[in-house]
């Protein structure tokens, strides 16, 4: 009997990101099942997942990771949900010289300046998000006003988005407190800025959290009054319900269950429907992809879990996911992956589930994702 392969999954089982974290865990289990053909073993070694709840707290995540490596003697770890937790965890992987597969925390600096060689990421980075989103609005003569939350996530997102725009111009950046509920003032500033300008005018929204501004934006009827459009990135399904206020709105998304037709995704959608009665979401796909990355790597090393073996197996490794092929870029271990340019279905009804149509799959080679960890 070979030794078990122990993997710690540290994520927000509770806390503000509870809903996201649970999707990841569900995806991870499905992914392992799919990748191992239901045996849950690689090379005769059984894969054991040890779940830990970081509650969204960086300090807790940090000590849980240390305890996983040291007390539980896991072979590698995966997680967490929040970027803040991830950043606090990174040095721990280095201290214990064990692999940490980041999924789905998005901050650029995870594979950027805070990166170390034990860090891999299957999740998309903010840059990938921003670049793909830029593609959807980037046309000559377009004026863009951004609307984002006033904290690191929002500001970084806008910066990356601006960097990625080649042809369109940003004429206004609006930052609102992360907990804003009354958008009147912010909207007013944007409208005052845009309304008298010529050309195509777009408000690009980067908003995380529970109170997105879409319904309120729709109430303003900006398209009819001033010819101003709205665009934004994808999100989890419940958060995209308000998108229906804008039939025809475009943007780019990390995942939407109907977009890709590869076997992994078909299996995922079918099985998710049959087990949970709902389609798989954003983070389910992420967890699924991470599982496939792990299994691919273990297969490559023939079940050897030595850290150096794993690292050399994973660097440059390509693997199947519900989103198609991903590749861990050698330099910063970021998984290069497709993103999806979507359009909200023309007949979308407010209140109903989000209904997105695929405009175009944006392939990895169509996005120039900068390497930010100084390791060229």
């Amino acid at each position: 009997q070979a030794k078990d392969i122990k993997i710690a999954h540290i994520y927000s089982r509770t806390g503000p990101l509870e809903a996201y974290g649970k999707q990841t865990q569900a995806g991870l289990l499905l992914g392992l099942e799919y990748a191992t053909n239901g045996t849950m073993a690689v090379n005769g070694r059984k894969i054991v997942i040890i779940e830990k709840d970081d509650q969204g707290k960086p300090d807790l995540g940090k000590s849980l990771l240390a305890a996983s490596y040291a007390d539980d003697k896991v072979d590698l770890a995966m997680g967490p949900t929040s970027s803040g937790v991830a950043l606090a965890m990174l040095p721990v992987a280095e201290e214990y010289k064990k692999v940490l597969l980041v999924e789905p925390a998005v901050a650029d600096s995870i594979t950027g300046e805070k990166w170390n060689r034990y860090i891999f990421r299957t999740g998309r980075s903010s840059s990938q998000d921003a670049i793909s989103n830029a593609v959807t609005v980037d046309q000559p003569g377009t004026l863009v006003a951004t609307l984002a939350q006033d904290y690191a996530f929002g500001r970084d997102g806008v910066r990356a988005f601006k960097d990625a725009l080649k042809k369109a111009k940003v004429s206004h950046e609006e930052y609102l407190p992360p907990t804003t509920t009354d958008f009147t003032a912010g909207f007013q500033r944007i409208v005052d800025n845009l309304k008298d300008k010529p050309g195509r005018k777009v408000i690009f929204v980067i908003w995380a959290g529970a109170n997105p501004p879409f319904a309120k934006l729709a109430d303003l009827d900006l398209k009819k009054r001033y010819g101003i459009e709205v665009a934004t990135g994808g999100n989890i399904l419940p958060a995209m319900v308000p998108y229906n206020n804008f039939p025809g709105m475009e943007g780019a998304s990390y995942y939407y269950f109907g977009f890709s037709k590869n076997p992994a995704n078909l299996w995922l959608v079918t099985n998710h429907y049959s087990r949970f009665k709902t389609p798989p979401d954003f983070f389910t796909a992420g967890g699924f992809s991470a599982a496939m990355a792990i299994v691919s790597a273990l297969k490559k090393t023939n079940g050897d879990t030595g850290t150096e073996k794993l690292i050399s197996a994973m660097e440059g490794m390509s693997f199947e996911t519900p989103k198609g092929m991903m590749t861990f870029r050698k330099e910063d271990h970021q998984a290069m992956q497709s993103m999806y340019h979507f359009r909200v279905a023309p007949g979308a009804r407010p209140g109903a589930m989000a209904d997105l149509h695929l405009v175009k799959e944006i392939k990895p080679n169509e996005m120039e994702v900068p390497i930010r960890n100084g390791r060229k």
Partner: protein, 355 residues
């Protein structure tokens, strides 16, 4: 001798004395008796909380001021060390600089808050501190160039406190004498000294006047104590001790962020511990922190066993799910008010005097 160390404030209950001794011994020997990173982390957190909670007891239990801004000072201490270590690089001088700056800032803020407390009635003051604390947390995440924003700061400590530092190649008594080990005992000594210092303060004439003010501010003034002065002094002292606790936390975690040291949740934990332990006793801080931090750290594990055992009853299993640990924490809040109105220390002491 022991009496002098304890500032003549004996536990006044045999059970309490035993409990205190148990906490002391357990903390002193944690690295030797409980193996593992998690246990050490829990013990270190207890040490930090003992200082933090005792400092809050000085304010709440002895002076009767309900302030929600206490974590602000805790955060200042943690950020002081974090920012200095990030900007100046790891080293003792960074820690010292950060600490001094943090103490100075806490002093000024505590002075301001303390003075404001005299203008409005107590309940308003509490609500104001609540708002101030929230504002400070927002500020900390806004000033991301300095504080690392929401993501916080990860930084390094001087060599001797880093995990990579090893005194001996081989473990001693099964324990690796490494940087973590040193850091733990640094925390332990700091906590012990600060705890005894606070015990001394509350048992000094100064502390007695604080109690008098808590009971009847008007009369305290009338017999010649300047309430403004004592209140402000108490605010400042407690803020400074909280700042030191914050620095201890930063040294241990080598990380700090708004959630870690400034969140309202910590404030609540502190409040709860003071009440569970026994307000106005200082000893309550030690007992309460020990019990609470251990419970909090292992609650999810415990619930997991519970929900596994209850898997036959779906609704019970759902309630016992580790994901609903907060539910049980909430229940703890409620029950502690029900059953420990005077805290564990108060209870034990009352049991003794009734006997």
């Amino acid at each position: 001798m022991l009496q002098r160390i304890l500032s003549n404030d004996q536990p006044r209950s045999r059970v309490l004395a035993v409990l205190l001794l148990a906490v002391f011994v357990a903390l002193a020997l944690t690295p030797f008796i409980v193996p593992g990173v998690k246990a050490l982390n829990v013990a270190a957190k207890i040490l930090v909380f003992i200082v933090l909670v005792a400092s809050f007891d000085l304010l709440l239990g002895y002076t009767g001021i309900v302030s929600f801004a206490h974590t602000m000072f805790f955060g200042i201490g943690a950020y002081g060390v974090a920012i200095a270590s990030t900007r100046m690089g790891p080293g003792w001088s960074s820690i010292l600089t950060g600490l001094v700056v943090a103490l100075a800032l806490s002093f000024v803020l505590a002075l301001l808050v303390g003075l404001f407390s005299l203008r409005v009635r107590a309940i308003f003051f509490s609500m104001i501190t609540l708002a101030v604390a929230a504002a400070f947390q927002t500020l900390a995440s806004q000033l991301s160039d300095l504080t690392g924003g929401e993501d916080g700061l990860t930084f390094k400590m001087p060599e001797i406190l880093s995990p990579s530092w090893q005194l001996f190649e081989e473990p001693v008594l099964g324990v690796a004498i490494d940087g973590r080990f040193v850091a733990y005992y640094l925390l332990f000594v700091a906590a012990l000294v600060l705890f005894l210092a606070m015990l001394r303060i509350v048992n000094s004439p100064f502390g007695r006047v604080l109690q008098a003010i808590r009971e009847n501010e008007f009369r305290a003034e009338a017999i010649g104590y300047r309430v403004v002065y004592f209140r402000t002094m108490s605010s400042i002292l407690s803020a400074l001790f909280a700042t030191l606790a914050g620095a201890m936390l930063a040294i241990w975690l080598r990380y700090n962020g708004p959630d870690t040291s400034l969140s309202f949740e910590i404030m609540l934990d502190v409040l709860l511990i003071v009440v569970i332990g026994g307000m106005g006793t200082i000893y309550g801080a030690a007992i309460g922190s020990g019990i609470f931090v251990v419970a909090q750290s292992y609650l999810q594990d415990l619930l997991k066993h519970g929900s596994d055992a209850a898997s036959g009853l779906p609704w019970l299993a759902a309630l016992l799910s580790p994901d609903r640990w907060l539910l049980w924490l909430g229940l703890l809040f409620v029950l502690s008010v029900y059953y420990f109105p005077t805290g564990i220390v108060g209870r034990l002491r009352a049991a003794r005097s009734a006997a």
